[in-house]
Amino acid sequence: MTLLVATRKGLFSVEGSGAAARIDRAMFLGDNVALASCDRRDGAWYAVLDHGHFGVKLHRSHDRGATWSEIGVPAYPPKPEGFVDKDMWGKDREWATKNIWSLEPALDKAGALWAGTLPGGLFRSEDRGATWTLVEALWNHPTRVKWNGGGADHAAIHSICVDPRDPKCVVVAVSSGGVWRTRDLGASWTPHTKGMKAGYVPPEQAEDPENQDPHHVVQSPSRPDVFWCQHHMGIWRSTNDLASWDQLHAQPSSFGFVVAVHPREPDTAWFIPAHSDQKRAPIEGEVVVNRTRDGGKTFQTLREGLPRQYAYDLVLRHALAIADDGNQLAFGSTSGNLWVTADQGDHWHVIAHHLPPIYATRYA
């Protein structure tokens, strides 16, 4: 199974597993690749290129990265005259795509895709990304103007979970914007944050849905009423199809950005802790991975093969991937280190030490 690694200066593919994994190909060398995704239905690979000066672009490959074609990018409609939409600094929010932060197959229709963008719009394509349409019901939801950037200047849809029971049912998570679900392919949306609490707003607003800052949300493929969330304030899990969330507590820290869930074991999930919001680095310079096998009652801290001192690797929200077999995982850091495991994290193997800052990993 190929591993795609999106970095600040290119996209890399990795072949092989465990200690035998090796970088096979470098693509878009020099370009800022914000995200990599794939569509198992047609074998397409997708790469989001954030060119900075020249804007964000989307490329697709049908030959496993040998050649790429530029396709369409989501574009916002004009802001209606007189519509008040200010950002957290009181400036007019530009209705323009700043980046693409999530890209997933829409499983209700061949070739259809969902894309989550900055400044917070969800888009759908019916034609493998050639053209895109804004999901207006979510963008026009009255609370959307209150969404703020979490770690960026713009709100961002970073997680898209298409329900394996019903592809018309889609959950998205938004940095400083909450968790939202549609059951009708985007025509209507409801917030699902009961139980979550924010510590960065006045107490009376702590439970407001739009104030929640999920860093990453995943849905259990094998028991889809189970969701896991790495939130700005810690770790939460829902076992009742998002009716409510329960906070969990991990050692040495519950702060972090990533979460992965086992494809067949809903109680097994992985997190990569950082010290805290204030210190976004490993605790005492030691990179560790946390794994629970009992739904978050207990966590095992995994260290084998990971640096034990003077390591300051931060793992961003899209940079932990799990393969379909549930045994292989991979993560990359802002320091350009890439690790893989073939035994659910009992042993880690470093594949590269000197990659550019890693933004995303994905098993294709």
Binding site: H53, F54, G55, V73, A75, Y76, P78, W95, A96
Partner: protein, 89 residues
């Protein structure tokens, strides 16, 4: 017609040869160029038509004032340069 030239850094992503284009404003001139080279548009302006944040357009040596509507005047003999703004670094 005005002469319109683009930063060489763009050539890696999209063809952008120097061309002559008619128009009385930056908007008109660039729209004429983009009509023949549609993929180039998204690299220079966003979906609102506003100049991308870190791009800069010079008309006869002066950076344009209106980065949103691109209403700055262009004369038939003008030289228009579409460049990257070296904002820091």
């Amino acid at each position: 017609m005005a002469k319109v030239a683009f930063t060489k850094n763009l050539e890696r992503h999209v063809a952008c040869p120097t061309v002559d284009a008619a128009g009385a404003s930056v908007r008109e001139v660039l729209d004429r160029v983009f009509a023949d080279n549609p993929r180039l548009r998204g690299y220079v302006v966003d979906e609102r038509g506003a100049l991308r944040k870190h791009m800069v357009v010079f008309v006869d040596g002066e950076p344009i004032a209106d980065r949103e509507r691109l209403s700055d005047a262009v004369a038939p003999a003008s030289e228009v340069y579409v460049m990257q703004a070296l904002s820091g670094g």
